[in-house]
């Protein structure tokens, strides 16, 4: 099996306002082209895990923390400089944020072209992007600004930008958090379709377990334990 991410014994410790939080990731592997879900209630560590995987936050310690490209290139994340991490993010990671993460001053087309600006060599070619836009039903909204779109349309545009970037993995942080159930299901299906057809791993973080239940290739959740003096311990466990 080809892996995109390999994490073993990764520990993240954070403290805020006198309280500390410790996330332990004993074993976490994401295969290429898979649809992986992270579920859990608020404050369990979903966002921290996403920050770790999004290379925004450095772990406190890690036995293994590697990202492997589709060309077999393996990046050992700990110890990388900020510049190197930015390069890896640029070429190998795609993001869909809760509100889309689109540039409000760019049109939908401009936001999709942003992917090509970031990765002129590896991004999908214009024809494929066009096909993607059709498939996502965005063809009539290309000139619109994000503020002129509905929540679902914004998320679809964000998916288009992420896929057009042609990353190893798309990290979707509560992509259905601000849409209705019907739209949420459509977004989930689109992400799943991307994973299958584009051979891009998709990791979706959601508090709505029902959205991914029975659909995700693997589902992870967190075991929470209260430490002394308000400290919180969380351990990532595979649940399905």
């Amino acid at each position: 099996m080809e892996w995109v991410y390999q994490l073993r014994n990764v520990i993240v410790e954070r403290s805020k306002g006198g309280a500390s939080f410790r996330l332990t990731i004993p074993e976490f592997h994401i295969p290429r082209g898979s649809f992986t879900a992270i579920v859990g209630q608020s404050g369990c560590g979903k966002s921290t895990l996403l920050d770790i995987l999004g290379l925004v936050l450095s772990p406190s310690s890690a036995d293994t923390f590697n990202l492997i490209s589709r060309y077999g290139e393996s990046f050992e994340i700990p110890g990388k400089s900020a510049k190197d991490l930015a390069q890896i993010r640029r070429h190998h990671l795609g993001y869909i944020l809760q509100s889309g993460g689109l540039m409000p001053f760019l049109s939908v087309a401009g936001n999709i072209l942003l992917a090509r600006m970031l990765n002129p060599k590896t991004a999908t070619d214009p024809e494929k992007t066009e096909e993607l836009v059709f498939r996502l039903g965005l063809e009539d909204h290309l000139k619109k600004k994000p503020s002129q779109l509905s929540g679902g349309q914004r998320q679809r545009a964000a998916i288009a930008r992420a896929v057009a970037q042609n990353p190893e993995i798309i990290l979707a942080d509560e992509p259905t958090g601000s849409v209705d159930k019907y739209t949420a299901a459509k977004i989930r299906d689109l992400l799943l379709q991307c994973a299958r057809e584009q051979d891009i791993a998709v990791l979706i973080v959601t508090h709505d377990e029902s959205l991914v239940s029975g659909i995700a290739d693997a589902t992870y959740s967190f075991e929470l334990a209260q430490g002394g003096e308000g400290d919180l311990r969380s351990v990532l466990r595979k649940v399905a």
Partner: protein
């Protein structure tokens, strides 16, 4: 669907395109920020334009008025021809012309048609005289004059009319008058000055001065004396009889005669020393000054009356060149000898006093040959130039050695050493050329060179009148206004930069989510920094362009309002490009520095927090 929209690219200058897109998206806010910058810059530009324009108008008026480039001496002294030649060679001198004595330049003038009269000062002019040429007239030709507006008004004349100038003198209790008709070649603008002046060529002014000095001016038919050269001598030989010189006469010879030294000579050496033999006791009398003249000999004769002593004028050996008729040149020296009938002495040889109408002065050449009978010439190098004298050999031929000539003629040659003497070929008379002039009118090429010329002349102990103070006043005004402006500009630019910095900082604060997303998407730090930098530069450029537009409109309005006070070609406001470009680039640099503040804000925020806190 617009296929084209997905076939485009954000390259080249992707960050610039993103920055522009953001500014366009928030165009109203961008416009407000640019207007805020323009609101600070535009008044500064107008202020600077007014300062530059007003100073430039003053400066132009100074430059355009040739009087401001004029320099005149405060004192009267003699400026010789060589002095004028030297000063004319200076690169900062546009025009210089001699002035005659002030008292000799006032004439009566009459309108030959109407009879209107007035007193005018004659002032010499010539080619490149800016006072004339830049005030509406051409330089007058011979028998023409250019009048100031005041003098034309008094005489009621216009260009093309005739005026007669008259000058009067008193000679031997007799009043004499001379006149000259001149055509009015032009009337100067009022700017040339309010004096009653007639500008004429230098020879006219010189002629009036000569006439008032009692001399004739043959060119205009004015009668009088001629400036004949008067012999000068280095001393006198006293030749006594066998009884010698009475001590009483020795005292008399040096009392009130101009002579002070008395020295006894050895008669046997006289032929070597003087060129002639003396068989008696001989004394040499020397003057107190450098030379003595006829009046000193008259006084000496009076003192020695009845003593039986012969007085012979004495000239020290004068170095000369003999230019022989056949082209050869000899170094020689002139010695004076007594002339029969004038100073009767035992000396020999004696030659006749030359007749003025002769072909030249008679001389005894040192060569052993016979006189050629042709015209040889003797050249004396003097301070004022060479004097070339035709010489007629009485005996001998041109060669190196002593040339003997009558004491009177040797005295003329002696004078030619210390001042310029010329020989009138028609009459054979020796005339002294004027020593120089009592003043000058001088124009610097530019007003900026007036002060240099003033310093030069004052270093030569020639205090001068000039308009340097007016020029310096304008410079000082310029300098003071510049300080004033730069102070306000400093405060204003600080305000503009504060506006810009605050706007960029606020923008970075507002866009922290979008900038965090860009960081998340992998834009490097140096790329993110470009975002506020481009925006700062663009807003500054737009604000600057708006300020230029506002300045242009305000400048046109001001020019229209004050058009009555402006001369043709003058502008009340003017923006010199140098400082404007400098301010522009300073603002750009400050805008970049301001954007750094925004960058600090961007990178001071934790990326994960910025992503969580923001929302579209």
């Amino acid at each position: 669907m617009s296929r084209q929209s997905l076939h485009g690219s954000l390259r080249p200058f992707p960050i610039l395109r993103l920055a522009v897109a953001d500014l366009r998206d928030e165009w109203l806010l961008s416009l407000c920020i640019s207007l805020a910058i323009a609101a600070v810059l535009a008044p500064l530009m107008i202020l600077f334009g007014l300062k530059s324009g007003a100073v430039e108008i003053l400066r132009q008026r100074l430059v355009q008025d040739p009087r401001n480039r004029e320099i005149r001496p405060k004192i009267t002294r003699t400026y010789d021809v060589a002095w004028f030649a030297d000063i004319k060679r200076r690169p900062d001198v546009a025009f210089v012309i001699p002035l005659t004595r002030g008292i000799s330049s006032t004439v009566d003038a009459v309108n030959v048609v109407t009879g209107a009269t007035g007193k005018l000062d004659l002032s010499p002019t010539g080619r490149a005289d800016a006072l004339v040429t830049e005030n509406g007239s051409a330089v007058p030709k011979e028998n023409e004059c250019v009048l100031t507006a005041a003098s034309a008004e008094e005489l009621n004349v216009q260009k093309g009319d005739m005026v007669e100038i008259r000058t009067n003198r008193r000679v031997n209790k007799e009043f004499q008058s001379a006149s000259l008709e001149l055509k009015v070649a032009g009337v100067l603008d009022m700017r040339a000055g309010g004096g009653k002046i007639a500008y004429v060529l230098l020879p006219v002014v010189e002629a009036v001065e000569q006439y008032l000095d009692g001399q004739s001016v043959p060119e205009y038919g004015w009668t009088g004396t001629r400036p004949l050269a008067r012999p000068e001598f280095d001393g006198a030989l006293l030749v006594a009889g066998p009884e010698g010189l009475d001590p009483a006469y020795e005292r008399k010879a040096v009392t009130d005669t101009g002579f002070v030294h008395l020295e006894k000579l050895d008669p046997s050496k006289m032929e070597n020393v003087a060129g002639f033999k003396v068989d008696a006791a001989v004394w040499l009398l020397r003057p107190a000054g450098s030379t003595v003249r006829q009046e000193n000999f008259e006084a000496l004769k009076e003192k020695l009356r009845g003593s039986g002593i012969q007085i012979i004028p004495w000239v020290d050996s004068i170095p000369v060149k003999i230019h022989a008729d056949d082209g050869r040149v000899f170094q020689a020296s002139v010695k004076s000898i007594p002339v029969a009938g004038k100073e009767s002495t035992p000396a020999t040889p004696l030659i006749q006093t030359p007749d003025a109408s002769q072909r030249g002065i008679p001389v005894i050449f040192p060569g052993k040959g016979k006189p050629s009978g042709k015209s040889d010439s003797i050249v004396v190098a003097g301070l004022g130039g060479d004097l070339v004298v035709p010489a007629v050999g009485i005996s001998g031929s041109p060669a190196e050695g002593p040339v003997l000539m009558a004491a009177d003629n040797a005295g003329i040659l002696r004078q030619a050493i210390s001042r310029q003497v010329e020989r009138d070929p028609k009459t054979g008379e020796f005339l002294v050329v004027r020593r120089g002039y009592s003043g000058f009118r001088l124009f610097a090429k530019t007003i900026d060179q007036v002060d240099d010329l003033r310093r030069f002349l004052e270093s030569k102990e020639i205090p001068v009148f000039h308009e340097g103070e007016r020029i310096n006043d304008v410079r000082t005004l310029d300098s003071q206004l510049s300080r004033f402006f730069w102070f306000i500009a400093g405060v204003g630019i600080a305000g503009a930069v504060a506006t810009l910095a605050a706007s960029l900082y606020a923008s970075a604060e507002r866009k922290s989510y979008e900038l965090a997303v860009l960081r998340l998407l992998g834009l490097r730090r140096r790329e993110i920094v470009q975002f506020p930098a481009w925006q700062g530069m663009l807003l500054t450029i737009i604000g600057f362009a708006m300020a230029v537009g506002i300045y242009t409109v305000a400048s046109a309005v001001l020019g229209h309002v004050f058009q009555d006070q402006l001369h043709a070609g003058e502008h009340l406001t003017s923006l010199p490009p140098g400082p404007v470009i400098a301010i522009f680039f300073l603002l750009i640099v400050l805008a970049l520095l301001s954007s750094l503040l925004a960058s600090v804000r961007i990178f001071g925020t934790d990326l994960s927090e910025a992503l969580r806190e923001g929302s579209v």
